[in-house]
């Protein structure tokens, strides 16, 4: 009761060691993360290159990017590529997760399929781009005029698309929408196995009794999926959606290298922007390529940050709200049994 009478733990004096142990983390965080973040924000409000813009005001950089067609196109590209990748990804991941965990179907070789489906996720993005470009064109076709013409007749995937009745002008990799689809497919190919593993864990985490109770009540497979599996997986799916969006907004390597595969990297397909330029590429180029516009790059990353952070915060609220879903399902089942 009385503080002075409390029996002091002899080890309490050792607690000051904690500060020594966490000091490297805090110092590294301050120096390598916090300071760069603050200075990025600082850059977004300043103008280093004075000859570039006259009449500079605090929000000039933001005005410039909001009026920059390339900025919006790179945002749009990111959004298009992400959506084309994510919808099939979540459908496929969910389908296989349910198939592999279903106690009635009892698939054989689940371990083998899991091994194979996750495999693409381990590869370096740079190598994946090249492997896929070989799937669409024969040989190393860049800048090789003869190859560019026959490239269409080349890779196995191009042949497959041709067989399915899709015709491209020269090569899918030179077509605005086709190249986006290829990138989306690569992302799908690399990530559906990863999402599948996450969903499988989620489904295995649902107590078997819930399924058994539904089974006893004579629920069909489809009813079980709609009324039990899907609602319980909802928080995991929202989590995976938000992390994918945050990751997708930072999409860099695959689109960046795919650009190298196009007929001419500087082709102004989209009023100055390649059809594969994402927001991360926009920031990278403003920062890295002369005249090194740190103000613009900073402003663009602040916009991206606010966008991502609001999504993350939304996720936290949703997850918090959905925490006790399993209990709610139980209640629903009990109610059903009473009727």
């Amino acid at each position: 009761m009385f503080k002075s009478k409390r029996v002091r733990n002899p080890n309490e004096r050792l607690n000051k060691w904690a500060y020594i142990f966490i000091a490297p983390f805090i110092l590294a965080f301050l120096f390598f993360s916090l300071y760069p973040m603050i200075s990025s924000i600082g850059y977004s409000f300043t103008n280093e290159n004075e000859s570039f813009y006259e009449n500079f005001t605090t929000f000039s950089n933001y005005e410039i990017i909001f009026h920059d067609v390339n900025f919006w196109h790179s945002f749009l590209n990111t959004f298009i590529i992400f959506t084309m990748n994510f919808i099939p990804q979540i459908v496929a991941a969910l389908f296989f997760a349910i198939l592999f965990t279903n106690k009635r179907i009892r698939m054989k070789g689940v371990g083998f399929f899991k091994f194979i489906y996750f495999l693409p996720n381990i590869l370096t993005a740079t190598t994946v781009v090249i492997i896929f470009s070989f799937m669409f064109q024969r040989g190393h076709a860049i800048y090789n005029e003869e190859m560019q013409l026959v490239g269409y007749a080349g890779g196995p995937f191009t042949e497959l698309l041709k067989a399915l009745g899709m015709n491209f002008m020269v090569n899918p990799l030179y077509d605005t929408w086709a190249v986006r689809m290829v990138i989306a497919f690569i992302l799908f190919w690399m990530w559906f196995g990863n999402s599948m593993i996450v969903y499988i864990t989620g489904i295995n985490g649902i107590s078997q009794e819930v399924f058994e109770a539904a089974d006893v009540d004579g629920a069909s497979q489809w009813q079980v999926f709609l009324n039990i599996t899907l609602p319980i997986l909802k928080p995991i799916m929202i989590y995976s959606l938000i992390t994918s969006i945050i990751g997708g907004l930072q999409m860099f390597d695959i689109p960046y290298l795919m650009r190298g595969q196009q007929l001419d990297p500087s082709t102004p397909i989209f009023a100055g922007t390649s059809s594969t330029d994402t927001i991360a590429i926009y920031i990278f180029e403003k920062m890295k390529v002369a005249p090194h516009d740190y103000g613009i790059a900073g402003a663009a990353s602040v916009v991206l940050f606010i966008f991502s952070l609001s999504l993350s915060v939304a996720m936290y609220f949703v997850m918090f709200k959905e925490k006790n879903y399993e209990k709610r399902i139980w209640r629903r089942i009990k109610k059903y049994e009473q009727i």
Binding site: F21, F25, R104, R138, V198, V216, I236, L249
Partner: protein, 296 residues
């Protein structure tokens, strides 16, 4: 799983014609998707054994006998001073140096931070733990511009500092270690070590680190994989050919009009192979890490 479960609830599947057909259909889908996943990788592995002319002639799944020719072709082509004088062996070494050192640093300091949160009661502990959780959801892109200009000012361009030292503060690794310690590591071990008169630092190194081996292994795998596959970092900070990492060499090859297809494939396989080998032996650990990290 158990007999008990199956007898109680789950009805046994009946072997009707519809069931058999739908099962065949499901297996067919699974096998098709598996082929889709594996065919690009198989074609890569097979292609490095074929000559450039054979590969250029068209897609075929067959083994050739030009493996060593492609290796020497790749090395010679990249070494050519007109091509920039790259060395694939040097790049391989660079990739190894960066991924091993950054992962080691990340693991050690994350374990240290997690250990401090687990074993000690210090002022601001609750805040610190919440803060780490908050850091996980902060997208890293914001700091890119500031970090790049800082690296320019401090003359860190063409050094490995920007890849190695920021790894000290890795919130998600700390979080993972903390969860692992919470579930497995009792404070009594620490008290016992203290009785024996061990210094706090020694206790961490000799009692805690060996105890959390499996968490370290999982996180080390993830660290090595993500560092090996990192492309944007090296593109931002490295400009000298002798410092290039493997993904950079691959990126360079995509714009190289003169490289032949066989050596080109070889360069890609060399970049991908270490991760494939790691995955082949440790896929279970990796998948387990994905599933436990899935809800962090």
């Amino acid at each position: 799983m158990s007999k008990f479960n199956s007898s109680l609830g789950v009805r046994k599947p009946q072997l009707t014609a519809v069931n058999i057909i739908s099962k065949i259909f499901l297996y067919a889908i699974c096998i098709l998707v598996a082929i889709m996943c594996i065919i690009p990788i198989v074609s890569l592995v097979l292609s490095v054994t074929r000559s450039s002319a054979e590969i250029d002639a068209g897609f075929k799944l067959e083994i050739g006998n030009h493996f060593f020719e492609n290796i020497t072709g790749l090395i010679k082509h990249l070494q050519d001073p007109d091509e920039g004088g790259y060395s694939i062996a040097r790049s391989f070494l660079n990739s190894v140096i960066i991924s091993v050192s950054s992962t080691t640093i990340c693991i050690y300091f994350s374990a240290l931070t997690a250990y401090a949160c687990h074993v000690y009661d210090f002022k601001g502990k609750a805040f610190f733990e919440k803060f780490i959780l908050f850091l996980i959801i902060i997208p890293g892109q914001l700091g890119a511009v500031g970090f790049y200009t800082m690296a320019l000012k401090l003359d860190w361009m063409d050094t490995y500092i920007p890849f190695i030292f920021p790894a000290i503060a890795s919130p998600s690794t700390v979080f993972f270690m903390r969860q692992y310690l919470k579930a497995n590591f009792s404070r009594e071990y620490v008290d016992a070590a203290r009785m024996d008169g061990a210094n706090e630092f020694v206790t961490f190194n000799t009692i805690c680190l060996p105890f959390i081996k499996s968490a370290i292994a999982t996180m080390a795998l993830f660290g090595v994989i993500s560092s090996w596959n990192n492309f944007m970092g090296p593109m931002t900070f490295l400009t000298k050919p002798e410092l290039f990492t493997l993904p950079q060499i691959v990126s360079y090859m995509t714009t190289d009009a003169y490289i032949e297809t066989g050596p080109y494939y070889m360069g890609i396989l060399i970049t991908a192979l270490p991760m494939l080998v790691i995955y082949f032996f440790l896929s279970k650990v990796i998948m387990k890490g994905v599933s436990t990290g899935g809800l962090k």
